[in-house]
């Protein structure tokens, strides 16, 4: 910074030499204010998304910098929402960036009194073991009259209305192939 710039950055100098002798406007503008731009302008990318709360389906724009979500706001292009969001939709950034989000697998063993940490791949193997064991223990091939049942009633699943269609498709497909019938979601409540 040259001396001249330094001096021009000095409010009193600007106040005395500029158009704002009272120093309440142009002369008082700080360096930060001078450089201020909306952080959405400096985002590295913007994803076009949809609000995760209710079923109105408001458009969202998700701004990202340094691999983190820096802003989520309404998408003015959406003919459904025209850029507007309710308090929940407006809180989406805090929802997805919350420190309260669980980021590690937790495990509570039978009769355990607290959580333990568990490796994700170990958890996947353990869950697969249990699914197969429950299926084997409760498999029903046919009913009393010999008609096919091809199922297990030992496994149940609940949830899907907050998930994507593609996810619900795979969930239903895998469980159906497994013979697990008792699949339910929020549409039932």
């Amino acid at each position: 910074m040259g001396v001249r710039t330094w001096i021009e950055g000095w409010p009193v100098y600007r106040q005395l030499t500029g158009t704002d002798p009272l120093g309440r406007g142009a002369a008082a503008k700080s360096a930060r204010s001078d450089a201020l731009t909306p952080r959405t302008d400096s985002a590295e990318s913007m994803a076009r998304s949809v609000c995760p709360y209710c079923a109105v389906g408001c458009g969202q724009r998700v701004y990202v910098a340094d691999g983190r979500v820096t802003q989520i706001e309404g998408d003015p292009d959406s003919p459904i929402s025209r850029g507007r969001l309710c308090p929940k939709g407006a809180a989406s950034k805090t929802l997805v960036t919350s420190e309260l989000r669980q980021q590690r697998v937790l495990y509570r063993r039978p009769y355990g009194t607290d959580w333990e940490e568990l490796d994700l791949s170990t958890a996947m193997e353990m869950i697969a073991d249990r699914v197969l064991a429950a299926r084997e223990a409760t498999w029903e091939d046919v009913d009393d009259e010999g008609r096919p049942l091809h199922r297990t009633l030992g496994i149940a699943s609940l949830g899907g209305a907050t998930l994507d269609n593609e996810e619900n498709y795979l969930i239903k497909k895998l469980f159906t192939a497994m013979g697990a019938l008792q699949i339910e979601n929020q549409a039932r409540i």
Binding site: G25, S33, L85
Partner: protein, 348 residues
Amino acid sequence: MVDVNSPGASVNPAEQAGHLDPPPRMGFFTDTSVCIGCKACEVACKEWNLVPESGLDLLGMSYDNTGALTANSWRHVAFIEQPRPVGWQRTPPMVGTPTGPPISPATAEAGAETTVDLGTRPGLPPAPDPAPAGRMADGTQFLGMPGSELPGRGDRDERTDLRWLMMSDVCKHCTHAACLDVCPTGSLFRTEFGTVVVQEDICNGCGYCIPACPYGVIDQRKDDGRAWKCTLCYDRIGAGQTPACAQACPTESIQYGEVDELRERARVRVERLHADGVPEARLYGDDPGDGVGGDGAFFLLLDEPEVYGLPPDPVVTTRDLPRMWRRAGLAALTMAAATVAAFIGRPS
């Protein structure tokens, strides 16, 4: 200092603050007649401006748990329940529902057509007389202040009308802003858009601005001591964007735009409401002749400002400063002249 004793003139405060050829003055028109009290404005503001949370307190002020504009709430939605009609509801919403004295606990039993005592009486406690809620039914009216009183209840024998007013309050960005006048550091400044902004890199937390605000808007944050309030999203509007609250607002209750154009829009809206049978609609803060020279953020209200917790006749608290300055200046000149005279008069 601006002489605010010559009311009526629509001034561009940005020009007066040394911004050469400034853009049009920008502001908010908040139309409370279409506010649904969703509080999207409060949240969108906090998300954009990274404002801290303001506490987990159930205030009992209808659905308002924010309480007031503070350093940590730059938008605040007030909720007011009143036993009076709202113009667009031709029929009182509660007309024909039971009124009169409190209902006796026996009513429920009698109505259930099981009058024979089968030894299973619930043993209802007698109603306390007068019950606290009953005492509150004497006509207290909720004025937007925290308290434990029953909101809004008037004469309990006339339980017919009910209206629920909602209003998103915000910094008014006064034409004559006392907070700015008293700020000794130049932290508070008038932007080229005519808005009033605290510069967080300048503010030293002296707090002079707090008592100066005629609306009680500007506030110090406890942990850092600095003053914070709505910036009208100075960063966003500088890039031609809409402030976060106005962009989120689902029903266009919060409208952002050029103040002159918003004033015209507001005038038309009031006329429409009057024609639609809502005579109580009125504007607040739109008048350049008022005590603060008009607000950059003004409102359409459905009741007296006090009902929403707004001062009825705000006056820039530094109104008398110019006169004082003139006097002080005169005194100083006199002093200076005397000093000069003293020097001149001194024999060399």
